[in-house]
Symmetry: C2
Subunit: 358 residues, 2 copies
Amino acid sequence: ARRKIGLIPADGIGKEVIPAAQQVIEAVLPSRFSFIHLDCGFEHFQKTGVALPPDTVKQLREECAGALFGSVSSPSHKVAGYSSPIVALRKQLDLYANVRPVASPIGGTGKPIDMVIVRENTECLYIKSERITDTPNGKVAFADRQISEHASRRIGRMAFSLAAQRLAHRRKTAKAGAAAAPPTAKVTIVHKSNVLSITDGLFRESVRASQQDDARFAEVEVEEQLVDSMVYRMFREPEVFDVAVAPNLYGDIISDGAAALVGSLGVVGSANVGDDFVIGEPVHGSAPDIAGRGIANPIASIRSAALLLARIGEPEAAARIDAAVDAVLAKNDLRVLTPDLGGKGTTAGVTDSIIKGL
Amino acid sequence: ARRKIGLIPADGIGKEVIPAAQQVIEAVLPSRFSFIHLDCGFEHFQKTGVALPPDTVKQLREECAGALFGSVSSPSHKVAGYSSPIVALRKQLDLYANVRPVASPIGGTGKPIDMVIVRENTECLYIKSERITDTPNGKVAFADRQISEHASRRIGRMAFSLAAQRLAHRRKTAKAGAAAAPPTAKVTIVHKSNVLSITDGLFRESVRASQQDDARFAEVEVEEQLVDSMVYRMFREPEVFDVAVAPNLYGDIISDGAAALVGSLGVVGSANVGDDFVIGEPVHGSAPDIAGRGIANPIASIRSAALLLARIGEPEAAARIDAAVDAVLAKNDLRVLTPDLGGKGTTAGVTDSIIKGL
Ligand SMILES: CC(C)[C@H](C(=O)O)[C@@H](O)C(=O)O
Ligand SMILES: CC(C)[C@H](C(=O)O)[C@@H](O)C(=O)O
């Protein structure tokens, strides 16, 4: 039987870009996978009162090799009973790492950017443990921010393992006999331990400790950046970063920042990775302003499909997709590219060009 | 008797840039103020075991009209008993707003940037309520994030009041009879209520409610941005922002991001503002890598001095300082400007040029 990929378009442009990614997968690996459509999202909540149907999670768990998620709309006011389904999905499937590669031959400062953000995906303020009380001086609300040794150490391992892979790849592709400096790889630990000495202190120490977990990690360099100065430096000299690892919220923020450096949120894909499941997910949101108009950039979802394929045993197909995307971006044909990149093209047009280039 | 200004250089380049700012104040308002030097910082902690001597706070409270703070070094590992003295100072003096104007005739995207970040300065994760426990699965740490109606509403008032002032100023300076659109002003509320519906929900609602607190606020426009998308948009189209108001940590992060857009952290000043005290503070850190070499950019501290003077009854002197700084920046003489701006100049040289231009 063919392996199954779950498709969870959810809201807004998710419904346009996920089918585009599906087309690309079918083009690169004809008849290799079958696809099932799964319900989820704010629109689904409005219809049924449920944002993430238990059946969606069950089908992912029991039937799928992996999945692609689109994007969810956030209600503009608090809606009773609604809570972000993507956050719930990451947690329920223990997809503990959100891996976000951000690369461009000419980044915001004119130099090549080639970084991967490894975002912890299960804790920090995302545990959603909040409460509010009335006091004589008005309402006071609290949220718990959780940082655990266990989650920090495993996200550290993910970061070092990616860095070690990158180092190996760089060594393989470095020109033999060239006078250039020998290849290196680096992990930047992002935190705010000058204020959060206990929680972010634990994060930084656990990530550092994870370097001992595998002999291949030993050659990877390590540095630390406070999150505020990380945002500053990413915009000033993004070319110096390689693999950045961060607790959940900082990871969320710096990956949107990194996306700005490569031209558009519309080109940055991600993979939500656990020990036994993976969900590809574009970094962008549901973009209600352009939803339904056929002009959403499908590249972020197509890159997410490549990340998904790479993790479910199809690394060659993934590499072919990435190369085809790179070619379309390098060509920079504004008749083809979508408006977020300054073009006049459509979702369908970009998808076709990528498929032709496979 | 002359009014007193407290000088708290603290660590690293703070010791170089605060004297520069003092020189400028003395040049613009000869003999108007006397100055006292107050101890504080990580270096002071290393010598004495105390980072913020109670006497420093007492002298500020009892003797000073306002103060200038330099920058603190963060130890690279957790040091027992040490906790950031600037965070403590903000809290003990109830300096509840950190006002950070970020402006440049040509920002990162080639368009003028003119925004003010109003950062809540007393709560959020900065209450430093953290704990750690051992579990069978390793250590687990928690931090409390506090958001109160009281603090959010008063920071909202600060944001609306600045926006209303800016609107009035724009109306006054708009060319009479010109065909241009009438001036507007806008407050952007930055939060992450799609995840933190209770705490950030309270923040956004309280800021919105504060618009009712003064009739002059009515004409100010209001919008909201999720913090991740705020960072993204700030880098893509910073020119669309006017006044941004944010809880403490988001405010910390976005103001470093904004600083990157105007060329250097070395030119962004801030004021820590309470109902009865104000401390000017450059947004940059203690820069141990360049400390002691006489090449730190004094402009952030000099701008902070202007913000201080504006709030202690010397708005004209403040305007003169800002104009002199603008002139030095506009001239862009790389023999004068410091290395962070691509120049070869020194702290003393920049300070002299500004004083000459007063
Ligand atoms: C939609 C939102 C809950 C989500 C997040 O904060 O994780 C999004 O910003 C992302 O980056 O995937
Ligand atoms: C030094 C540090 C505690 C401080 C902060 O986070 O507030 C600094 O980054 C700032 O922005 O003033």
